[in-house]
């Protein structure tokens, strides 16, 4: 039998090129594009297009399953390599701090206000309830967190708890623990947004209620101002971060319930990606809060200084996120 020679020829003619492309892509995947010589770098797109055309020809003329599958995989690998825009990690980082992070936070503006409102409503409710009926305190604040700070405690005990640091040795460990714990809670707040945002809203209101309960407890002893200083030095950063995480969760929930013109899936994935960028920022904010809480609060016992630091941090975050900035071209 006399086979038409063109498809047997395809393999004979092009196999060399495919193997070269294969080797180049493998090298890039294993090391980095910098491992390639200039010649190879120039050849890569040409080899890729040639492989694509081989694939088209093979699909139309050849029944060699192995050949077609091989070419499909080779082309896919080369495609993902060539069409993935890679910037250097340094440039990526600069871009994140200069642009992506504040933009992502600004993009969550409406949700941030809602999250803040939820937190405030929780705080006010917690304050009013606990002020009128102290029994509610234990309902809002779990025993291990209260750690003896409840309505049975004396004024002196409460006052001491605001100024006596933990033993100074463990500060760094304490700060690290706080950071990892809070970061996990924040990520959780974000992820739960998927359930239509309801758990996120509850979590925000509950955090507020806990805050309100403490305010009521200390306020009842005339220690409101001192508690404010104790809270604000790290709280301005930490609560801000939690509000942002909540806002991310709410945005996702919102887009699932009200996708607008886009399909539910597409809306959720746009919201999810934007909120994820903000979440990386939230984790960074929580690192700062952990440091402020672990070191700042334990080492600085002057109320005025505590307020000054807390409010300055607040101002810095607000300016960084929301201050108008020049649009970059392109």
């Amino acid at each position: 039998m006399n086979a038409p020679s063109s498809f047997r020829g395809l393999r004979a003619e092009r196999e060399e090129e495919w193997r070269r492309l294969d080797a180049l892509v493998s090298l890039c995947e294993k090391k980095s594009p910098r491992a390639l010589s200039d010649d190879d770098l120039m050849a890569l797109p040409i080899l890729y297009r040639s492989a694509l055309s081989s694939l088209s020809v093979a699909r139309e003329t050849s029944l060699d399953l192995e050949l077609v599958t091989y070419l499909e995989h080779l082309c896919a690998r080369a495609y993902f390599f060539l069409y993935g825009v890679r910037t250097s990690p340094g440039a990526r980082l600069r871009q994140f701090f200069a642009n992506d992070w504040p933009a992502a936070v600004r993009g969550l503006g409406r949700e941030t206000l809602i999250a803040l409102a939820l937190l405030l409503v929780g705080t006010i409710a917690g304050y009013l309830l606990v002020s009128s009926q102290p029994e509610y305190f234990s309902a809002f604040v779990p025993g291990e967190l209260a750690n003896g700070r409840d309505f049975s405690a004396s004024r002196e005990t409460l006052l001491n708890s605001l100024y006596s640091g933990k033993e100074q040795d463990g500060l760094a460990v304490f700060a690290t623990y706080l950071f990892t714990h809070n970061a996990q809670v924040a990520i959780f707040c974000f992820a739960l947004g998927f359930a239509f945002g309801i758990p996120t809203a509850l979590l925000l209101a509950y955090t507020g209620a806990m805050l309100g309960a403490f305010l009521a407890l200390y306020g009842g002893h005339g220690l409101g101002l001192q508690l404010g200083g104790w809270l604000i030095i790290h709280g301005s950063t930490e609560l801000f971060a939690i509000v942002l995480a909540g806002a991310g969760g709410l945005r996702i929930g919102w887009s699932v319930v009200f996708p607008g013109a886009a399909s539910r899936l597409a809306a959720a994935s746009v919201a999810g990606r934007g909120a994820a960028t903000a979440m990386v920022g939230v984790v960074l904010m929580l690192i700062a809060a952990g440091l402020l809480e672990g070191f700042g609060r334990q080492l600085i016992v002057d109320d005025a200084v505590r307020y000054a630091i807390g409010l300055t941090m607040m101002l810095l975050w607000l300016v960084y996120f929301y201050a108008p900035r020049r649009r970059r071209n392109g």
Partner: protein, 290 residues
């Protein structure tokens, strides 16, 4: 040759998705199956647990070595290490050029943006932060139960139900999406590294004396040809014998010297015929395609 593990060709077709490159060629990606993804995740979990145990051992040795003096450093390193491992193992590996964790690499998988564009950092972060509620939350429920921490049975059952929803979510949608994939606009495809071996159609070795009639060559289509190709490439003696007997019975051909040589000859003859038909625009899918 390795097809998608354990899948018949027709199921494989159901897992194929179009991805048209800017050059206008459809790459025809194959989605990863639920079991492949499970395998990959198990491998990653094992790696993470091993690293965690190693970290803990090193921390304990560090404590002994410093006589308790390095307590702070050891504790901080351990806490941060655990945090990074839990949250960033997946994120950092999937941001790399291979877009796959170690487990995914072994299973031959990679993460891809569903729209065919490039996989961005925020998508990788979004899909992996969702693990928090898909994996770690159910795990912590189980942990509470195991510790007998006064969590009642109802809570545990709810927790297990929750875990079940997320665990089996990929099995219940067409694209095998995890909640994280859904949210990030990604999917996981099956993209193992292939190598190209020899062409079965050498045209010299095997046609050894066998002549096939038109009728015999019209008995099968492309599907059967490619199944035969797989049998020949695998080179398993028993399955070659089984296939050869089926074909010989159908054609009424008696004993042959070598089943392999017979099958090779038939493969070449059939492929030549079908490829020629292709040139004339006739693609005969399988033996039922008239």
């Amino acid at each position: 040759m390795a097809r998608t593990a354990g899948l018949a060709p027709r199921d494989e077709a159901a897992m194929r998705r179009r991805l048209v490159t800017p050059e206008g060629v459809d790459l025809g990606l194959t989605l990863a199956t639920a079991s492949q993804r499970m395998t990959a995740f198990m491998l990653d979990a094992v790696i993470m647990i091993v690293v965690l145990i190693a970290m803990t051992l090193i921390a304990v040795f560090g404590l002994f070595a410093t006589g308790g003096g390095g307590m702070q450093i050891v504790a901080i390193t351990w806490l941060l290490g655990f945090f990074l491992l839990r949250n960033f193992y997946f994120i950092l590996m999937e941001m790399g050029p291979r877009a796959a964790t170690f487990g995914k690499r072994v299973a031959g998988l990679r993460v891809v943006a569903r729209d065919g564009g490039r996989l961005t950092a925020d998508a990788v972060i979004a899909r992996n932060l969702m693990r928090e509620i898909e994996v770690y939350l159910p795990l912590s429920f189980l942990g509470y139960e195991a510790a007998g921490d006064g969590v009642d049975t109802l809570t545990t059952l709810l927790g297990l139900g929750w875990a079940g929803i997320f665990l089996f979510f990929p099995a219940f949608n067409r694209d095998r999406l995890r909640i994280g994939d859904l949210l990030a606009g990604t999917w996981v495809i099956n993209a193992p590294k292939r190598s190209l071996s020899f062409d079965l159609m050498r045209g010299t070795a095997a046609s050894g004396g066998y002549q096939f009639t038109e009728e015999q060559l019209d008995a099968y289509g492309i599907y059967e040809l490619q199944t035969l190709e797989q049998v020949l490439r695998t080179g398993d003696y028993d399955s070659m014998a089984a296939v050869a007997i089926t074909i010989r019975d159908k054609f009424g051909i008696g004993e042959v010297d070598s089943n392999e040589a017979f099958l090779n000859a038939y493969y070449e003859a059939l492929r030549t015929r079908l490829e020629r038909k292709l040139l004339f625009g006739r693609r005969r899918v399988d033996k039922f395609d008239r």
